[in-house]
Every structure is written in structure tokens, then in C-alpha cells.
């Protein structure tokens, strides 16, 4: 410690210069971090805007068009992305919320909670391609089913589960015990206490988690590549083997030459996806913010 204090005791120009240099680097790092975001957003908006401004973009699929032929829209991909996301949420959210209830209301502080919590961490680190391969081995290799939109949804469940579970868990932790005790004192059984008191109190946090989870899975591509074939036509059934989605629409058109009409549609799909996913992210933040303001 004495060595440190002797160096600190003599403030010289060298130390000040170093301090200023570091300050410069720290500010520079923020610029470096923000530049890609701005670059991506500006380029996607400027190149994608012409495509999505036409009414056909939102009302037609790509049936009967090719990369060389203008016209058509992204309806098939928009509906596909929304539908796969919705099916994923229907499966994932109940499991995630019940899992969080297990962690906080039933197993808090036990070794079981630590085990489950560790597994949730591992689950949140599983690459999407591995989740996709797992569902492939389960549904296609072992059960002999074909590729389908619902198989992709099941793979996405693995990715959505940890997001929703963690945010629900965090919110349940914040529910004060006095509320639970007040409910018990009124003779309300534990499960009714959880359903009628704890969950409503934590609702905005759970909603935030669900929206963030949806945003994550709607932007995923790898499971869709492996588990469902891209289609240019609108298909609605979740068990269909071909379904268009925005990420796979971008992927299928990524090598289209710049001069062709199909090129513009790729950027249009990218902009539509960004609007959808960023919109969900901002919505989640707004919900979280609104509930925080209410708390004060």
C-alpha cells in the first residue's frame, strides 16, 4: 500500500496525461459501440423502406413471383413468424411461469432450487442450432415425423423458456412476503395466494419477460432452417412442412443480385423483422418502465 501512496503523492503531468488518455479511450469505446447500431439501422431502413411502403407488402405472399419478377409481398413470412412465435409462447410461458413459481414459492433456498437454477442457466446458453438438432433427433429421427412449423416452435421453446423463467423469477422475488402473509392470514390456501396475489403483483414483470422472449425467438433463424422448409406461399397450419418466415425469407434471398427486384425484398424483409423485434423490445421496456413508475 505504501508503494501506491508514494506514487499517488506526487501528481505529475504524466499521471494527468494518462488519466486524460484513458478518458478519451472510454468515450471512444461508446462511439465504437454505437456506430454499428446506427450503421445497421440506417442501411436497413434506407434500403428496405421502398419495399415495405407498398400495400401489397402487407397483403400478398410471394406466390407466382421469382427473384426476377417484381410484385408480391411478405404476408406469408409475417404470418409465419407471428404464428411460430405464438405457438412457442403458448407452450413455453406456462412451463416458465410454473418453473419460476417452483423456484421462489416452493423450493427457495433448497438444493433443488439451485439445481433447477443451474439448469436454467445452461438452457439459456444452449446455442439455437443445438436446440434445433435436439428437436430434430426427437421428432424426426426418433418419432419419424416430418419437418414442420410446430417442430420449429418446439425448438424455440427451449430458447424462450429461460428468458421468461428468469424474468418471472426476478419479479416473484420482489413480491413482499407481507402480501403473502396477509393472504395466508385470511385463510387463503397457498396456491390461491400465488395465483391471486403473487402473480397479479408480478404481472408486469412477467409480461416484460414474455415480450422479450417473443422478440428473441421471432428473430431466430437456425431452428427454422433445420426444422421447417421455406415457402413462398402463405401456409397457415402449424403442422405444415413448409412455412415462410421473415428470417428465412432474408436467408433464401441473400444471394440475389442487386439489380433484381428480389434484392429489394430481402431488405424489406430485414426492415420488417427489425420493426417487429425492436418494437417488441421497446414495448417490453415501456411495460417495465410503467410498472416501475407505478411503484413509486
Amino acid at each position: 500500500m505504501s508503494a501506491t501512496s508514494t506514487t499517488l503523492a506526487a501528481p505529475g503531468g504524466g499521471r494527468r496525461a494518462k488519466d486524460a488518455a484513458i478518458r478519451g479511450l472510454v468515450y471512444l469505446s461508446a462511439v465504437v459501440a454505437v456506430v454499428p447500431l446506427v450503421w445497421i439501422l440506417v442501411s436497413i431502413v434506407s434500403q428496405g423502406l421502398p419495399a415495405i411502403l407498398s400495400a401489397a407488402w402487407w397483403t400478398q405472399d410471394l406466390a407466382g413471383t421469382t427473384d426476377r419478377k417484381a410484385g408480391g409481398g411478405a404476408l406469408h413470412a409475417i404470418i409465419g413468424t407471428l404464428e411460430i412465435g405464438l405457438v412457442t409462447a403458448i407452450v413455453a410461458v406456462p412451463i416458465a411461469v410454473m418453473g419460476a413459481i417452483f423456484l421462489i414459492e416452493y423450493a427457495r433456498g433448497t438444493k433443488w432450487a439451485r439445481l433447477v437454477s443451474f439448469m436454467v442457466d445452461i438452457l439459456s446458453g444452449i446455442p439455437s442450432i443445438v436446440a434445433a438438432l435436439f428437436i430434430y433427433t426427437l421428432m424426426i429421427t426418433l418419432l419419424g415425423l416430418g419437418r414442420s412449423a410446430i417442430a420449429a416452435s418446439f425448438a424455440l421453446v427451449l430458447l424462450m423458456l429461460p428468458t421468461v423463467l428468469r424474468s418471472t423469477e426476478e419479479m416473484l422475488k420482489l413480491v413482499p412476503d407481507s402480501l403473502r402473509e396477509a393472504s395466508y392470514a385470511l385463510g387463503v390456501p397457498k396456491w390461491r395466494t400465488v395465483v391471486d396475489v403473487v402473480i397479479p403483483t408480478a404481472f408486469s414483470g412477467i409480461a416484460t419477460g414474455v415480450i422479450l422472449g417473443l422478440a428473441r425467438v421471432m428473430g431466430e433463424t437456425a431452428p427454422l432452417l433445420i426444422l421447417v422448409a421455406y415457402a413462398r406461399n402463405l401456409y397457415l397450419s402449424p403442422t405444415t412442412s413448409n412455412m415462410g418466415t421473415l428470417p428465412t425469407m432474408i436467408n433464401s434471398g441473400r444471394n440475389v443480385a442487386e439489380a433484381l427486384p428480389g434484392y429489394e425484398r430481402v431488405w424489406g424483409a430485414a426492415l420488417t423483422l427489425i420493426i417487429l423485434v425492436m418494437g417488441l423490445n421497446l414495448l417490453a421496456r415501456a411495460v417495465a418502465r410503467a410498472s416501475r413508475l407505478k411503484d413509486r
Binding site: 484513458i22 438452457l123 446458453g125 426427437l138 396477509a182 387463503v188 396456491w191
Partner: protein
């Protein structure tokens, strides 16, 4: 906050509460019977709800276990029939007509190189932004900067891929040519692929993708630096940087390491951005240059997703997926252990 849920308790639980104790008291019946009745209701609902919660937890645990088990089971027959060493070979011939030859050495190299370079690029920037937000600017501006950086996490990976392929790669082309001209005598910077779809472009894009994760976690730990440590350093006459070096960085060190590991895990498994950007090469062996093309575990699997036609072939790709799973599992587990140690 207390008002609303409080009202909630009253309205939603009133009926049950009324049937319970109060009814029994007014009727003068023995409390024990009503208690018994009440206990029964509680028991049934509670038991099934509890079972539901436990079932959800079991599903989570089994899912993780099953991922490993299923991949291993399906990969085993192909691994048995593999005629080259799985870990050291760079061959990948999984067609039906020839004997199976597949090895992951090339995939392992490209995966590790892209991810490690991405981490080396991302961590200094992430730490810099975290220091800026927590130590240099007022809270309100800090949270605004944090918000903008977090938005990067909301960009889908296919968009990063598209941007890297069409815009970033071509933009960096002249810089790559210069770098190769100056440093080309080092094997790591030797000649690679003609296109800009090389390891370095993939690494830069991966770095941008993991930046928000590492930055957010670093911000969390830096903002928890004890006030006393900061003030003690400043009272000794430390400059801002000296204060950060002696108080903030030592305190946040393990948190930053954990965050970097999480970022590394994410980079190792990133699929679509890498698949789009990285040029595939047909040259055998490993080109260790950062200007080389190649394939990672994830991009190899995704590139061939439509060719899973025979069990033997599928098994080879699933074996690659299994290795990726084990590696990311290990990296994430280490991150978790490091982060836990910090809390204690």
C-alpha cells in the same frame, strides 16, 4: 404498490375467507369441522398446483439432460462407422456411397478462432462503455447510453449476417488488404480467401453481437463498487483512472470474466450470422489465417440442414452438434461458477 394488490387480496379472497372461519364462528359450530373442510379444499388445490410447479422444474432439468443424451445416442452409430479420427481429422465425406469420413479439427479451429478474436475485440470496448456509463457520466446520460447499447442485443442475428456480408465486409476490404500487406509474414495474417467473407469479418460481427451482453453485466458489477473504496482512492489523491484501476476494476474483475465467458459461449454457438458471412473453402487441411474462410460447428450444420437424408449422414452433423453442446455447456458452467464466487 401496496394499494392495488391489497385491494386484490380483499376482493379475490373474501368469498373463501367468509366460508371459512367467520361462518363457523357465527353458527357456533365446532371450529374443527370447518377447519377440516377448509383443510381439504386447501389440500386438493395446493397439491395439484405444487405438482404443476414441480413438473415444470422437472421439465427444465430433463430438457437439458435430454439434449445431451439424445444427441449422443443419435450420433453414436455414425461415430462408430467413422473411418478417420473424429477429433484430429479435417475430412468431411458423409455421402452414402463412400465410407464415412468426418472429423472436427477444422470446425474446432474456425469456431475457436472466430469466438476468441470476437471476445478479444468485444471485451475492451464493453469494459470501456461500462466504465463510461458507471464512472464518467451522470446517471441519466449513462442509462441512455446503456439503453442504446442494449438495443444492439435486439437486432436479430440474420440482420447482423446480412450487414456483415453486404456492407461491413466490402467496407473493410481495403483495410484487410493493407493489414495483410504489412503483417502477411505472420502465419495468422497470411493469405486466405479472396472474398471479404473471412474469419476476421465474422469475428467483428460476433464481437458486436456479444458486446451488449458483456457491457450490461460489466455495468452491473462496476455500479456495485463500494462507495468507500472509490472515495478512499480519491481521498488519497488518485486521478480518475487511478481510482478505477485500484477500486473499480479489482472489484469488478470476476464479474467481467464471467461476462466474457458468457459472451464467448454465445459466440461459439452463433449460427446464422457466421454461416452467411464466412466463405466455405474446399481446400483440405486448416488455414490458420484470420483471412481464411471455413466453417464453424454451427455454420456447418446449418449449411447442410437440407441434406439430412440418411441416418449416417445426419449422425455426423449431430456429432458435431454434440461437441458444440459440450463446449458451450463447459463455458457457461465456468461463467456461472465465476459469477457465483463473486456473490459470496
Amino acid at each position: 404498490m401496496a394499494d392495488e394488490p391489497g385491494a386484490n387480496v380483499a376482493t379475490t379472497t373474501d368469498p373463501e375467507a367468509a366460508v371459512g372461519p367467520s361462518a363457523s364462528l357465527s353458527n357456533g359450530k365446532p371450529v374443527s369441522t370447518s377447519n377440516l373442510h377448509f383443510a381439504n379444499v386447501k389440500h386438493g388445490g395446493d397439491r395439484s398446483f405444487r405438482a404443476g410447479a414441480i413438473a415444470a422444474a422437472v421439465i427444465v432439468v430433463l430438457l437439458v439432460a435430454f439434449v445431451g443424451v439424445f444427441l449422443a445416442v443419435i450420433a453414436t452409430p455414425s461415430l462408430r462407422r467413422d473411418t478417420v479420427n473424429f477429433f484430429t481429422s479435417t475430412q468431411w465425406n458423409v455421402g452414402a456411397d463412400a465410407p464415412l469420413q468426418f472429423g472436427i479439427a477444422g470446425l474446432l479451429w474456425t469456431t475457436a478462432l472466430t469466438s476468441v478474436v470476437a471476445m478479444l475485440l468485444a471485451v475492451p470496448v464493453a469494459v470501456g462503455t461500462a466504465l463510461l456509463v458507471t464512472q464518467y457520466v451522470p446517471g441519466r446520460i449513462g442509462s441512455l447510453i446503456g439503453f442504446v447499447i442494449d438495443l444492439l442485443a435486439a437486432v436479430p442475428s440474420i440482420i447482423f449476417g446480412l450487414w456483415g456480408l453486404k456492407l461491413l465486409g466490402p467496407f473493410l476490404g481495403p483495410f484487410y488488404a493493407w493489414l495483410q500487406h504489412v503483417l502477411g509474414w505472420i502465419p495468422l495474417f497470411s493469405k486466405g480467401v479472396e472474398s471479404t467473407g473471412n474469419v476476421l469479418t465474422a469475428s467483428i460481427v460476433l464481437a458486436i453481437m456479444i458486446l451488449p451482453i458483456v457491457s450490461a453485466m460489466s455495468r452491473d458489477v462496476f455500479s456495485q463498487t463500494p462507495r468507500d473504496h472509490i472515495e478512499a482512492a480519491l481521498a488519497l489523491g488518485a486521478t480518475k483512472w487511478e481510482m478505477i484501476r485500484t477500486a473499480v476494476l479489482p472489484y469488478g474483475q470476476s464479474g467481467v470474466i464471467a461476462a466474457s465467458m458468457l459472451g464467448l459461449g454465445r459466440a461459439l454457438g452463433e449460427t446464422i450470422a457466421v454461416m452467411i458471412i464466412l466463405s466455405q473453402t474446399n481446400t483440405p487441411g486448416i488455414n490458420i489465417s484470420i483471412f481464411a474462410g471455413g466453417e464453424t460447428f454451427a455454420s456447418k450444420i446449418a449449411n447442410n440442414a437440407q441434406e439430412f437424408d440418411s441416418p449416417a449422414k445426419t449422425g455426423a452433423y449431430i456429432a458435431a452438434g454434440l461437441v458444440l453442446f459440450v463446449v458451450t455447456f463447459a463455458v457457461n458452467a465456468i461463467a456461472r461458477v465465476v459469477a457465483d464466487r463473486r456473490v459470496r
